[in-house]
């Protein structure tokens, strides 16, 4: 039963990835990334079929709180601060981005078949990889710095899917430390974006190209 729920949640993740690639409104991007975070927290919770443990439950709850509430809040504040509404003129157009997402999923399924993992949903590795690739894609194909930060979060989400497979192995302190670091990372990125905007009056990361050889 737990397996079915996890499968459904993983499919939900895939749909989130498609939505991330499709949309050009930054506020919507942040919301979808938040939803993704909540789904991942739930995956964390449900993927441990061998009885409930306080350790895993607490970790899942923290993940939901951080990825679903705190990170989106930080990013939304940054977005309002620099008044960024839309992602205009990305390097790769939105329909093409969705095509990329589908291709990435196909590739992930192929790789997942080569990295067998008994006892967990067959979708876990592919979905984790797809989410990571989506995050990478967002970071490299979009112009604004804030979308790059969102892409980083999506990348972290993908990595956390793998974390769900490995959860419960490390003491809670370590997992807390990891989350704290990611939190600080997002926080510092927000500050950096403010400064980029202040210095350049835009947040187009591709126009940050004066340093070159």
């Amino acid at each position: 039963m737990g397996g079915n729920i996890v499968d459904a949640l993983l499919v939900g993740l895939i749909l989130c990835n498609v939505d991330l690639l499709r949309t050009n409104r930054i506020a919507a991007l942040i919301r979808t990334a938040a939803l993704q975070g909540v789904l991942i927290g739930m995956i964390l919770f449900f993927s441990h079929t061998d009885g409930f443990s306080w350790h895993v439950g607490l970790f899942a709850l923290t993940v939901v709180f951080l990825k679903g509430v705190v990170f989106p809040f930080l990013l939304a504040r940054t977005r309002q601060g620099v008044n960024a509404q839309r992602e205009n003129n990305p390097f790769v157009g939105f329909p093409m981005s969705v095509c990329f997402g589908i291709a990435a999923f196909a590739l992930s399924l192929w790789i997942g078949a080569r990295l067998p993992l008994p006892g967990v949903s067959a979708l876990s590795v592919p979905v984790g990889l797809t989410t990571m690739l989506t995050g990478f894609f967002l970071m490299t194909s979009r112009r604004t710095a804030i979308t790059q930060a969102i892409g980083y979060l999506v990348l972290e989400n993908g990595i956390t899917v793998f974390g769900a497979l490995a959860a419960g192995q490390a003491p809670f302190v370590v997992e807390l430390g990891i989350l704290l670091d990611v939190f600080l990372g997002v926080f510092v990125m927000g500050i950096a974006i403010f400064n980029i905007n202040r210095e350049f009056h835009h947040i187009d990361a591709d126009r940050l190209s004066s340093l070159k050889d």
Binding site: R114, L115, L117, M132, F136, M139, A145, Q148, Y152, L155, E156, I159, F162, G163, L165, A166, Q169, A170, P171, V174, E175, G177, I178, L180, D181, V182, L184, G185, V188, M189, A192, N195, I196, E199, F200, A205, L208, S209, S210, L211, D213
Partner: protein, 476 residues
């Protein structure tokens, strides 16, 4: 004892947050105390120190001592040049700089003493966060750009390192609830899932390699090194890379214990030669001398990776190279800082005739050129020579050929730029001599590099052998 090493810089960081505090004194004081603690460890030896989540073995002690020494030199340089660096900056900038500098030391210490892979990761991510504000010190648009690139690229790298950690756990899954400390992993390594272990290694190599500056993930390196204040670049290049290198060595330890050392070594070899090639490509006709030094760091990270790729007898040479590089690159970056303040430019084209205008600085700059290119009698010659020797012993002739060819090209590139800076005819700066700025810290580093070239003391030799032994060195 180890906890003291961690807590000391953190206390310092808290102290400098207080307004009105004489920050340069706190930094220097912390550096000296830290070095003294390290000296105690060196004298006492690493045996008998309990190893739990944190601990210290020979490689860690080596990197720790290198970090401590360089930090003292940089702190002394900052102490002497504080006014020139901060005269045009706000008190807030000064506070952030000082706090982040000491936090940087604390996070590096965490990476060095961590025996638990999760803790190691936390330390590495923390170094990225602590150093980003340091790059931004000048508050220029170029500095913003460099800081952003650094944050994004290194965060992605460290995220991949996190994936490596998770995949490593999956690889060890069959053993149920294995401890995640280096010692446990090494013990359990032979009985784990090989495919997943290799996947983990690749993620670690790409992820942590990004932070170390291995090609092709090095794109943040030249910008960050050239925009950050020179003393910060000295620490990046001479201390931070060593800590990341140590982290990669922990991963290598596990791979070696699993019997997959050959796979790991071949990847290191490829990345090493690739880094060297990239360094050559960008060093020729380089217009900014701090970027030149950054590409030189790329070159030396390539040499370290190459040395690991050779393995066996080359390992102790690799650790010797770590020490040499720290000394010489630290010296060169501090000198670069002096040049920037004396000539008000980072352009290698506009600076000319240093031996005439700033004789002592020009002379040291030339000395640095020869030292970093691996010419005797400096220490770097010995470490590079030993690596080549080990490679020959393994019959890797064409790899050595490529290696030597690239090193020669690097010397041409660097030499061209740096010689012209020191000796060339000056079109822009006429007549008067300029103040060189504080040269003693750089001089001390240079003298130590020379001393190492002439004679490696026995205690250091023993430490190097010990460190290589931990990584399975000595076995060919």
């Amino acid at each position: 004892m180890l906890v003291a090493l961690l807590v000391l810089p953190l206390l310092g960081a808290l102290l400098v947050a207080i307004p009105g505090m004489p920050r340069r004194h706190v930094i220097l004081g912390t550096a000296i105390l830290y070095a003294l603690l390290d000296l105690v460890l060196l004298v006492r030896g690493v045996d008998g120190i309990p190893s739990g989540w944190i601990g210290i073995d020979a490689p860690a002690l080596l990197v720790l001592s290198a970090t401590a020494l360089l930090f003292v030199a940089v702190a002394a340089h900052l102490w002497l040049q504080w006014k020139q660096i901060f005269h045009n900056k706000t008190a807030a900038t000064e506070a952030v700089f000082s706090g982040c500098l000491l936090a940087f030391l604390a996070t590096m210490t965490l990476v060095i003493v961590a025996r638990h892979f999760g803790l190691l990761w936390i330390g590495l991510e923390a170094t990225t966060l602590a150093t980003a504000p340091l790059i931004y010190t000048e508050r220029s648009s170029a500095a913003v750009e460099a800081t952003w690139k650094y944050l994004i690229v290194c965060s992605v790298g460290i995220a991949l390192g996190l994936l490596g950690n998770y995949v490593l756990v999956i690889a060890m899954h069959g053993n149920g609830g294995v401890g995640f400390r280096v010692d446990d992993l090494v013990r359990q390594a032979a009985s784990c899932d090989r495919t997943w272990l290799r996947a983990a290694f690749v993620f670690f190599l790409v992820g942590y390699g990004t932070k170390m500056g291995l090609a092709p993930m090095h794109t943040w390196l030249p910008d960050a090194y050239s925009e950050a204040p020179a003393p910060v670049s000295a620490l990046f290049s001479g201390a931070l890379v060593n800590c990341v290198f140590l982290a990669l060595m922990r991963v290598y330890q596990v791979m070696d214990a699993a019997g997959d050392g050959e796979f790991a070594r071949s990847l290191f070899l490829i990345l090493g030669l690739l880094s060297l090639a990239m360094a050559v490509a960008f060093m020729l006709r380089q217009g900014d001398f701090k970027r030149l030094l950054a590409y030189s760091s790329l070159e030396h990270m390539g040499i370290l990776a190459f040395g690991i790729g050779i393995g066996g007898a080359a390992l102790s040479a690799v650790f010797l190279h770590v020490v040499n590089h720290m000394l010489i690159k630290g010296m060169l970056f501090l000198l670069a800082g002096n040049i920037v303040i004396a000539f008000h430019t980072r352009s290698a084209i506009r600076v000319r005739g240093m031996v005439g205008k700033t004789p002592a600085l020009g002379a040291l700059w030339l000395v640095g050129l020869f030292a970093i290119s691996g010419s005797p009698p400096f220490g770097m010659f010995i470490s590079e020579f030993q690596i080549i020797q080990a490679a020959f012993a393994q019959g890797r002739f064409w790899q050595v050929g490529v290696f030597l060819g690239l090193l020669f090209l690097v010397f041409l590139g660097m030499g061209g730029v740096m010689l012209r800076m020191a000796l060339g005819e000056s079109k822009h700066y006429e007549g008067e001599e300029r103040a060189s700025g504080p040269l003693v810290p750089s001089l001390v580093l240079g003298v130590l590099a020379l001393a190492l070239g002439l004679h490696v003391p026995d205690w250091l030799n023993a430490l190097l052998e010990n460190a290589a032994g931990v990584l399975g060195g000595g076995r060919v």
